[in-house]
C-alpha cells in the first residue's frame, strides 16, 4: 500500500495541465471510456462512473480502485494570414490523471438498509416491477482533472502580445454517495471541491535599448465548489440509460500575483502586485444510452450539452492600477454546445477486451473570438483501447485518443488573424483493482 501511496503522490505532483478538448474541457476520464469514444454515462463498467454518472456508481461490482493517467501530446501551429509566417507551440506534454475509489455493499441486508427498504416498499409495483431485495449503497471518492489547458507558444511568435503561455489546471475532488434502488435503478450525487491554478503570460509591447520587450506573468491559485448528480436506469438486460449533471464551478483567483518585467524606467507604470480573476468551468448535462446485445459486445452513446455560455468575459482586476496598467475585460462570449460520443467494446475472451470509439464536439467559440489561449474548433475524435483482466481482480486498460482541429479566424480584440491547427494524441494507461 505504501507503494500505491507513493504512486498517487507522484501522479498528483506530475499533474496537470491538459489540453484542448472543447474549450478547455478535458474529456479524458477513465481508460475504458476513452477507448470507447469517451462515452460512459449509461454503460457502467468501473470506478469512472463516479465521474460519468454517480447514479450508476452503485452498480459497480465489489470495491474498486482505479488509477489512470493519460499523456496528452499536443502539437499546435499558427499560420499568420498577414505575414505568412508559421509559429509552433512547444509540444507540451500534459498528464491528466484520474483516481476513483468505490466501496460499499453491492446489495445490502443490514438493519438500516432494511428499514430503508421497508420505507420504499410501498412504491413496490408502482414505479418498478422490482422486489427491492437488491438495495445497495456505495461511497466513492473521485479525484480527477476535468478541465485544464497548457499552451506554450514558441519564443518571439507573432501573437506574443496576445499570449505566450497559458497553464490552467483544475483538480476535482468528489466524495460521492450512490444508491442502488433495486436491480434497475440507481441515483447518486457527489460534492465537488475544485482546486487549481492558472499561469498566464504574454509580452508587453514596450522595449528597452537592447531590444528586450516587456513581459507579464499572472499566476495564482484558484478554487471552487460544485456538484455532480446522476440517475441510472436499466430497464432491460441489454439496455441502460443514464442522465447526469455536473454543475458549473466558478474557479476564483482571489490573490494572484502579477509580475511585470519591463524597462526599469517604466517599472512604476507596471507595478507588481496582486490581482483577482475568475474562470467558469461550465456545467455538463449528459444523456447516455448503453446497449449490450451480448456478453461479449457492448455499445455506449453519450450526448453532452455543455453550458459554455457561462464564459462571457475574462477579467483581470489589478490591485495597483496605473495609466498603463488598467483592469481588463475581454469578451469571450462562448456559446453552449453539444457533443456526441459513441464507442463499442468487444470481449475476445472474458478477460480481454478491445474498444473503438468516435466523437464529435462543436466549438463554444464564436467567429471573431478565437484566441491563442484556446484555439478551439469543431472536432472529430477517434479512440481505441484494450483491456486485460487478471484473475478477476486486476485490470489493465490502455487507450489512445487522436483528434485534429483547424480553424481560421480574425480576433476582434487583438486583430490576430490566421489559421490555427492542433493535433492531439493522447495515450493512456490505467490500473483497476477489485476486492
Amino acid at each position: 500500500m505504501t507503494n500505491l501511496k507513493k504512486l498517487v503522490t507522484t501522479i498528483i505532483l506530475a499533474v496537470p495541465t491538459m489540453v484542448y478538448a472543447q474549450g478547455f474541457q478535458v474529456n479524458l476520464q477513465g481508460q475504458v471510456q476513452q477507448g470507447m469514444g469517451t462515452a460512459g454515462t449509461a454503460l457502467i463498467q468501473d470506478g469512472a462512473a463516479l465521474f460519468f454518472n454517480p447514479g450508476g456508481a452503485a452498480f459497480v461490482k465489489k470495491n474498486s480502485i482505479d488509477l489512470g493517467m493519460t499523456a496528452t501530446i499536443a502539437n499546435g501551429q499558427f499560420l499568420d494570414s498577414n505575414s505568412g509566417t508559421v509559429n509552433k507551440t512547444a509540444s507540451p506534454v500534459s498528464t491528466p490523471f484520474t483516481a476513483y475509489a468505490i466501496f460499499g455493499k453491492d446489495s445490502c441486508t443490514k438493519k438500516g438498509m432494511t428499514n430503508l427498504r421497508e420505507k420504499l416498499s410501498h412504491m413496490k409495483g408502482k414505479i418498478f416491477k422490482d422486489k427491492f431485495q437488491d438495495i445497495g449503497m456505495k461511497f466513492g471518492l473521485g479525484v480527477y482533472t476535468p478541465f485544464g489547458s497548457i499552451v506554450d507558444w514558441e519564443k518571439g511568435w507573432t501573437g506574443r502580445y496576445a499570449l505566450t503561455h497559458l497553464q490552467l489546471q483544475a483538480i476535482f475532488i468528489q466524495p460521492t454517495i450512490s444508491i442502488k434502488l433495486g436491480s434497475k435503478f440507481g441515483i447518486g450525487g457527489g460534492f465537488v471541491y475544485s482546486t487549481g491554478s492558472v499561469n498566464l503570460q504574454k509580452d508587453i509591447p514596450v522595449v528597452d535599448a537592447n531590444g528586450n520587450v516587456g513581459h507579464a506573468e499572472l499566476s495564482g491559485k484558484a478554487s471552487g465548489f460544485g456538484y455532480n448528480l446522476g440517475v441510472y436506469y436499466k430497464p432491460y438486460k441489454y439496455l441502460s440509460l443514464g442522465l447526469a449533471y455536473r454543475s458549473q464551478v466558478n474557479m476564483k483567483v482571489n490573490s494572484g500575483d502579477a509580475t511585470f518585467t519591463v524597462p526599469s524606467s517604466l517599472s512604476t507604470n507596471f507595478p507588481n502586485g496582486k490581482f483577482t480573476s475568475s474562470l467558469p468551468l461550465p456545467s455538463v448535462l449528459t444523456l447516455g444510452v448503453g446497449f449490450t446485445p451480448s456478453e461479449k459486445l457492448s455499445f455506449a452513446l453519450d450526448v453532452n450539452y455543455v453550458g459554455w455560455k457561462a464564459y462571457d468575459t475574462l477579467s483581470f482586476d489589478y490591485e495597483n492600477n496605473t495609466a498603463s496598467l488598467v483592469d481588463t475585460k475581454s469578451a469571450r462570449l462562448y456559446k453552449n454546445t453539444f457533443a456526441v460520443r459513441f464507442g463499442g467494446q468487444y470481449k475476445i475472451t472474458p478477460a480481454f477486451a478491445v474498444r473503438l470509439g468516435i466523437g464529435y464536439a462543436n466549438t463554444p467559440i464564436q467567429n471573431g473570438y478565437v484566441t491563442p489561449e484556446t484555439p478551439d474548433a469543431n472536432r472529430y475524435i477517434y479512440t481505441a483501447g484494450l483491456g486485460y483482466t487478471i484473475k478477476n481482480k486486476f485490470t489493465i486498460n490502455a487507450s489512445v485518443l487522436y483528434e485534429t482541429l483547424k480553424r481560421t479566424d480574425t480576433n476582434l480584440e487583438t486583430n490576430l488573424s490566421g489559421t490555427y491547427q492542433t493535433n492531439v494524441i493522447a495515450p493512456g494507461l490505467s490500473l483497476s483493482y477489485k476486492f
Binding site: L79, R160, P205, V207, S265, Y402, K406, N415
Partner: protein
C-alpha cells in the same frame, strides 16, 4: 506483471514516435502579379531614407519602409536594395548637425527628473556622415534624401557643395561624385538605374518646412502652380513621367495632414497651470485682449499674433504649439503667459488653414496622377488619421501619441521601426490591390516602438 506494464509503456511510446502528429501549415507562395521588382528604386524624403529620432543613422535606415518593402519584394524576385548606409553604430546626423535623440532622463527647471528625449551624443552628431563621400558604393536604390521636396527632387545641383550653406543638401552630396555635383538631381540619379519598379513618396516637406517654422514666411509653402522646380504640380508630373518612361510600374503615396503628427499635437494648447495670484495677475494684464485665466490647470497659452488687437491673444483649441518649444521656458520663464509665445513656436488658425489647403491640393494632384498613369496609390493621409485614433495589430495598439503611441520616433515627425513596418504594409496592400500580386505583409510584431531607458 511489471513486465507487461513495461511492454505496454514501450509499445505506447513507439506508437507515438510512429504517429508524427505535427500539423504542417504553410503559407501559399507569393505571386508577383503584373509587376517586375527586380530593380526597385525609391524616391522620397527623410521618411524614405529611414531618418528617425531627429537624425539619419544606421538602425533607422535598416527599417525604412522602402527597405522593408524591398525585403518583402525578395519573395517575388526582388534584387538587392542598395542603400546609402551610414556607419554601423553611428550616433547619426540631423539637419542641425545634431546626433539622434534617445529617451533618457532630464531634470527640468522645477527640479523634476523625468523621461525626456535627449541627444545620444553631446554637441555634434557624426559629422563623418557628411564628410565621407560614398558615391562609389552607388547607384543607390534608396533615393530617399532627408529634407527633399517635390521641387528639389528635380533640381540639378541639389548636392552641389560649392554652393552656399543652406542652398544644397549634404545628405545628397554624399551620394554623388564631385564631378556630377552641379548637374545631378535626385530624379536623374533615380532614373538612370534601369529600374523595373519605383515608389515615389514625396511632398511632405513642401508643407512641413513651413509648419516646422511655425508658419513663418521665411520657409514658404511650395505653390501648386508654377514651373518645374518652382511649382508642385509641374515638378511632380516631371518626376512621375520620368520614372514611367521606360515602362516601369510603381506606387505613389500622398502626404499626411500635419495636424495628425505628434510634433504638432503633443503640447496642449491649454497646458498652462496657474496659482490664484498668477491667474488674477494675467487677467488684469491681458484684460484688453479678452483673455481669461483661472486658478489651476487648463488655461490656454498666450501667443503673439500680429493681426490681433494689441499683437497678442490667447491661443485657440484648433491652433498648435510645436514640440520644439523650450519646455523649461513654458514651465518656469513665463513663456505663454507673461511672455506670449513667439510666432515661430505656434501654428495659428490661418497658418493651419494654409497648410491644410496646400496639402489637400497636393493630394488631389497625386491622386489624379495615380489614376491617370494606372499606378498603385497609398493613402498615407488616411493611414495617419487612423493612427491618430489607434491601430491594433496582433495585440499591439499603436497610435500617434508621442512616445507612448509607439509609431512615431522621438522627433515627433518620423516613424519608429514599428511605424515604418505599418507604413510598409500600406504600400504592400496598395501594390497587391493594383497589380494583382500577393506579397505578404511585414510582421509588425518584429519591430519595436520607442526604446525606454534601463534604468
Amino acid at each position: 506483471m511489471k513486465n507487461i506494464l513495461n511492454k505496454i509503456i514501450i509499445v505506447t511510446i513507439a506508437l507515438n514516435a510512429l504517429v508524427s502528429c505535427k500539423p504542417d501549415l504553410k503559407a501559399p507562395a507569393s505571386d508577383k502579379g503584373s509587376i517586375d521588382v527586380t530593380n526597385y528604386v525609391a524616391i522620397g524624403n527623410s521618411i524614405t531614407s529611414g531618418f528617425a529620432d531627429g537624425a539619419l543613422y544606421y538602425e533607422g535606415q535598416q527599417v525604412s519602409y522602402a527597405n522593408l518593402l524591398a525585403e518583402q519584394f525578395k519573395t517575388i524576385g526582388g534584387g538587392d536594395f542598395n542603400t546609402p548606409w551610414t556607419p554601423i553604430g553611428t550616433q547619426g546626423i540631423g539637419s542641425s548637425l545634431n546626433s539622434k535623440l534617445v529617451l533618457g532622463y532630464k531634470t527640468d527647471c522645477q527640479g523634476v527628473n523625468g523621461l525626456s528625449p535627449v541627444p545620444a551624443a553631446p554637441g555634434y552628431g557624426d559629422i563623418s556622415i557628411f564628410s565621407n563621400n560614398i558615391s562609389a558604393q552607388g547607384p543607390f536604390n534608396n533615393m530617399g534624401v532627408p529634407g527633399a521636396k517635390v521641387i528639389t527632387v528635380v533640381f540639378p545641383g541639389y548636392g552641389d557643395a560649392t554652393r552656399p550653406a543652406g542652398s544644397f543638401n549634404p545628405f545628397f552630396t554624399r551620394m554623388i561624385t564631385p564631378a556630377e555635383m552641379s548637374t545631378a538631381s535626385m530624379l536623374s540619379k533615380a532614373a538612370s538605374q534601369n529600374h523595373t519598379f519605383f515608389s515615389v513618396f514625396i511632398g511632405n516637406n513642401d508643407v512641413l518646412g513651413n509648419a516646422l517654422d511655425g508658419g513663418m514666411s521665411t520657409s514658404p509653402i511650395t505653390p501648386s502652380g508654377g514651373a518645374i522646380g518652382t511649382g508642385f504640380d509641374a515638378s511632380y508630373d516631371l518626376i512621375i513621367n520620368t520614372m514611367i518612361a521606360n515602362g516601369a510600374k510603381g506606387v505613389i503615396a500622398n502626404i499626411p495632414d500635419i495636424t495628425n503628427i505628434p510634433h504638432f499635437t503633443t503640447v496642449p494648447y491649454n497646458g498652462l497651470t496657474l496659482s490664484a495670484t498668477q491667474a488674477a495677475g494675467l487677467n488684469a494684464a491681458y484684460a484688453a485682449t479678452g483673455a481669461s485665466f483661472k486658478e489651476g490647470s487648463g488655461n490656454a497659452f498666450m501667443i503673439v499674433d500680429a493681426s490681433a488687437p494689441g499683437g497678442v491673444r490667447q491661443i485657440k483649441s484648433n491652433e498648435y504649439i510645436l514640440l520644439g518649444t523650450p519646455q523649461d521656458s513654458l514651465k518656469c520663464a513665463g513663456w505663454g503667459s507673461s511672455k506670449p509665445l513667439a510666432d515661430q513656436y505656434v501654428l495659428n488658425e490661418r497658418e493651419v488653414l494654409n497648410l491644410k489647403e496646400a496639402a489637400a491640393a497636393y493630394n488631389a494632384k497625386i491622386k489624379t496622377v495615380a489614376e491617370e498613369k494606372g499606378l498603385a496609390f497609398v493613402d498615407v493621409n488616411a493611414f495617419m488619421a487612423n493612427a491618430k485614433k489607434g491601430i491594433v495589430f496582433n495585440g499591439i495598439t499603436s497610435s500617434a501619441a508621442f512616445v507612448s503611441g509607439g509609431a512615431f520616433s522621438l522627433d515627433g515627425i518620423h516613424l519608429t521601426p514599428r511605424g515604418n513596418a505599418m507604413l510598409a504594409n500600406e504600400f504592400i496592400k496598395a501594390i497587391n490591390l493594383t497589380y494583382g500580386s500577393t506579397i505578404n505583409l511585414v510582421d509588425i510584431t518584429k519591430y519595436n516602438g520607442v526604446a525606454f531607458p534601463n534604468p
